[in-house]
């Protein structure tokens, strides 16, 4: 157990960086490479790293299984809901230009919202997949 010390401390050190990098990739996706898909996978990678180093119980404290499984449909709902808002406000499905006063800004906001939905679904699905495979091994 004591031999794990370096690995555990190292993991603890890198975790905030991974989460920060995931958020950077998510919100900087408009200006540089990145977006919801990549950020979701990186965030899921953080949970998997916790599970590998500290065990499944620690990972489930960080990302409880119920929350993760609810994230899977929630992201799709956020995505589709953004589209439906456009529909309700009298434009086409997934037309974001109604979300603000200025159509250009509104579309930027729409992109952010949609990417958020993608992030939620992808990170939730990837973590849930990992949980499902590990649980089966027990």
């Amino acid at each position: 157990m004591s031999l794990d010390l370096i690995l555990r401390i190292g993991t603890k050190l890198i975790l905030p960086f991974i989460l920060m990098f995931a958020l950077y990739v998510q919100f900087h996706g408009d200006y540089g490479p990145g977006g919801g898909f990549q950020a979701g996978v990186i965030a899921a990678g953080m949970v998997i790293l916790i599970a590998i180093t500290f065990g499944m119980s620690a990972a489930k404290r960080v990302a409880p299984q119920a929350v993760v499984e609810r994230m899977v449909p929630l992201g799709v709902l956020v995505f589709a809901g953004t589209g439906v808002v456009g529909l309700l406000l009298g434009k086409n499905f997934l037309d974001y230009s109604v979300l603000g006063h200025d159509p250009v800004h509104a579309r930027e906001w729409g992109i952010l919202l949609v990417e958020l939905g993608v992030l939620i679904t992808v990170s939730g699905t990837m973590t849930a997949l990992f949980y499902a495979f590990v649980e089966r091994g027990r």
């Binding site: 031999l3 370096i6 690995l7 190292g10 993991t11 890198i14």
Partner: protein, 111 residues
């Protein structure tokens, strides 16, 4: 960009590439997992470090340099951590380091 900095950065990049190649050759040529890890660590420290320094000099003072600095810091912190984890996994699987005596014994057995 002054010529001197350009030349220096390219020298660093070429040196870094050289050490990366050396690490790769070592990875293939070394006999067992511990010596192979030893060879691979050349790629981590000298190869990666020199390459990133060279690229920093190429980039000048900008956001890119800061990002490269972050990468360098993460590299120097976590390459040893990962190597340590790998070595420990190998020990956990009861893989003994191959000693010179072992090899001599094998050579004598062949004769």
């Amino acid at each position: 960009m002054p010529l001197a900095i350009d030349v220096l950065s390219w020298v660093l990049i070429v040196l870094g590439s050289f050490f990366t190649v050396v690490g790769g050759i070592g990875l293939v040529r070394m006999p067992d997992i511990y010596t192979r890890m030893h060879a691979a660590s050349v790629t981590d420290t000298l190869g990666g470090g020199l390459l990133i320094f060279g690229m920093m000099l190429q980039a000048g003072f900008s956001l890119v340099t800061l990002k490269l600095l972050f990468i360098l810091g993460l590299f120097f912190f976590f390459a040893p951590v990962v190597t340590h984890a790998l070595a420990q996994a190998a020990l956990h699987e009861d893989i003994e380091p191959e000693l010179a005596e072992d090899r001599r014994g094998r050579a004598e057995a062949m004769d």
